[in-house]
């Protein structure tokens, strides 16, 4: 098959071959355009915006509740309680409290909704067949989908942290941050650590998003995919709390989620953090591969 034939666009039909083919090498802008389109789809969807709004509202409510309860101090839980006892002295800690509480269910829920819906939603609506006959390219579509999921997960974490910091600053004093290891760092460095915590948690959510993307390629029902991802996350968290399963704990997707508190010590416990990031990376690679393998080999009958 000659390449000349591929370019032989008949004059009939008003085709503009030169115009079309001149664009072919522009794969990078094409990819950017698809990515932007994915982002628009995710961030202009009312449901997703409502999710982000809820993520912003929770730390505000949490801050108000803790402010009202402040004289008596907190109780129960380990990581949470040490943060809560610190909160009265420093509003920055509201960010850590909010993340600790919300990483258990609310953040995974937000990521599950967007990632579970990613492919299954398009299949369910039937828009997938229109995209594929454009043709968008299956690998390209799945890459753009995953990139948008990662951006959404990061945005969700940023929304939680930003809302927490704003609420914390409004309701509590702000100043140098006393770390969990007992030493105190200036506010600027404390905020830098907040940023690192945000990125670490975003990485955790990116790994969960990969699982969601993979699940999403197996069904045409977005609700089913979303529920599956959420159930997987919760089961992993429960298993992580059963001592008899200690042998598999480090391999659970949720095991390393709470290890962001290593960032709040001096010196920073990098080995735990690196383990966590390695776990997230492996989960992302494995499940993106599953998603790709499934999506590029399956018949689209929706």
């Amino acid at each position: 098959m000659s390449t000349a034939e591929a370019t032989a666009v008949p004059a009939a039909g008003g085709a503009r071959p030169a115009d079309q083919l001149a664009r072919t090498p522009g794969a990078v802008p094409g990819w950017l355009r698809l990515f932007r389109s994915e982002l628009r789809l995710v961030f202009r969807r009312l449901r997703n915006l409502a999710l982000l709004a809820a993520l912003a509202a929770l730390p505000v409510l949490l801050g108000i509740a803790l402010r009202l309860a402040a004289p008596r101090g907190g109780g129960g839980g380990d990581a949470g309680s040490s943060f809560i006892s610190q909160l009265a002295g420093n509003g920055v800690f509201l960010a850590f409290i909010a993340i600790t509480l919300m990483i258990a269910l609310v953040l995974p829920l937000a990521v599950a909704v967007v990632s579970g819906d990613s492919v299954a939603g398009e299949a369910g609506m039937g828009t997938l067949r229109y995209l594929l006959t454009v043709p968008v390219g299956r690998t390209r579509l799945i890459a753009a989908k995953y990139a948008a999921i990662v951006v959404f997960g990061l945005s969700a974490c940023c929304v939680v942290v930003a809302a927490s910091l704003a609420t914390g600053a409004a309701l509590f004093p702000i100043g140098p941050v006393t770390l969990l290891s007992g030493n105190t760092v200036p506010l600027g460095q404390g905020l830098l650590r907040v940023l690192f915590v945000t990125l670490y948690v975003a990485a955790a959510m990116a790994a969960l998003g990969a699982i969601g993307l993979a699940v999403s390629t197996f069904t045409e029902h977005p609700i089913g995919a979303i529920a599956t991802v959420l159930v997987l996350a919760v089961v992993s968290e429960i298993a992580d709390n059963i001592p008899q399963f200690a042998a598999v704990h480090p391999y659970l997707p949720s095991h390393w989620w709470l290890f962001f508190d290593s960032l709040l010590r001096t010196p920073i416990l990098t080995s735990d953090l690196l383990h966590g990031l390695l776990s997230f990376g492996l989960y992302a690679v494995i499940f993106c591969s599953i998603a790709w393998a499934r999506f590029t080999s399956t018949d689209v009958t929706a």
Partner: protein, 350 residues
Amino acid sequence: MSTAGTGTDAGTGAAAGAPEPGSEPEAGPGAAPSGPPGPPPGPAITTSGLTKRFRGGQLAVDDLGLAVPRGAVYGFLGPNGSGKTTTIRMLLGLIYPTRGSVSLLGEPVPGAAARVLPRVGSLVEGPAFYPYLSGRANLARIDAADRTADPRTAAARIDAALDRVGLLSAARKRYRAYSLGMKQRLAIATGLLRPRELIILDEPTNGLDPQGTREVRGLIREIATGGVTVLVSSHLLAEVEQICTHVGVMRTGRLVFQGTLDELRSRGSNRVVIRTAQPGEAAATLTALGLADIRSADGEVSAQLADQSPERICRELVLAGVGVAGLDTPRPNLEDLFVGLTGEGFDVDG
């Protein structure tokens, strides 16, 4: 099936027949240098031995050999469930064949789908868009997915496509609020976002009112007069009869007829109808001529014409002393032909 036009291409020995499946790696960008437009090579669509067996074991398409010439308006007929949509999905690379190969515009699919599908517009199994986006935003989404489309001209091309299907005034309306006809037209507009060489429309008039059907028919005619090959699947025979030059008829996954509309008509069991006051004698003469399926009723005798000429029958009747009040060879009805090819009804084959 494969045409003889292969040697006429530029001296590269391009084979435009049925290419082997997967013989082409997915073309990288820039693999196709822009050359002077050559003559239209080969047929627009060919499939050979195309077979799809779904995982449940159901044989949806069985050894299909489609041949759609360039410039044709090809009516793809068959009852519901006869495998038309599965075939169209295989043509567009949505479903992978179990066996056999597909060639679109001389390129193998799905092997070279990335290269050839931008030249193909399609509507598969009804409209499907994001309900919360406007018609224009939906087309922008489709266009953004096309890496070979020029983003600088996107807005103009989208508006032109909307204009062509008469949706420009509803461009800002959410898709959710569209009527069924508008949804269908928006789906057709995706095929018009850029110039195409081939348009594949799966049941484009499904669910449309008579005006909508007329509009779509007009649109298909207009597309075809530009030299674009059109494959339109339908079970509305009147529609096919009005716009198509070629016809393929499927039944339970197999192609039971393929050719021009005239060939289909001539294939039909043409009958000769004689009006006469002496039906008994007329029937006897027809029997003597070797005609089959002779029926007489109410001053009329009819028989299958087979390869006899009506002139000869008339002469024999007159020589036999039968008074012929009228002799007619009515054009076969497309619906009768269709039912003859596909069996009893539209919804029975499964």
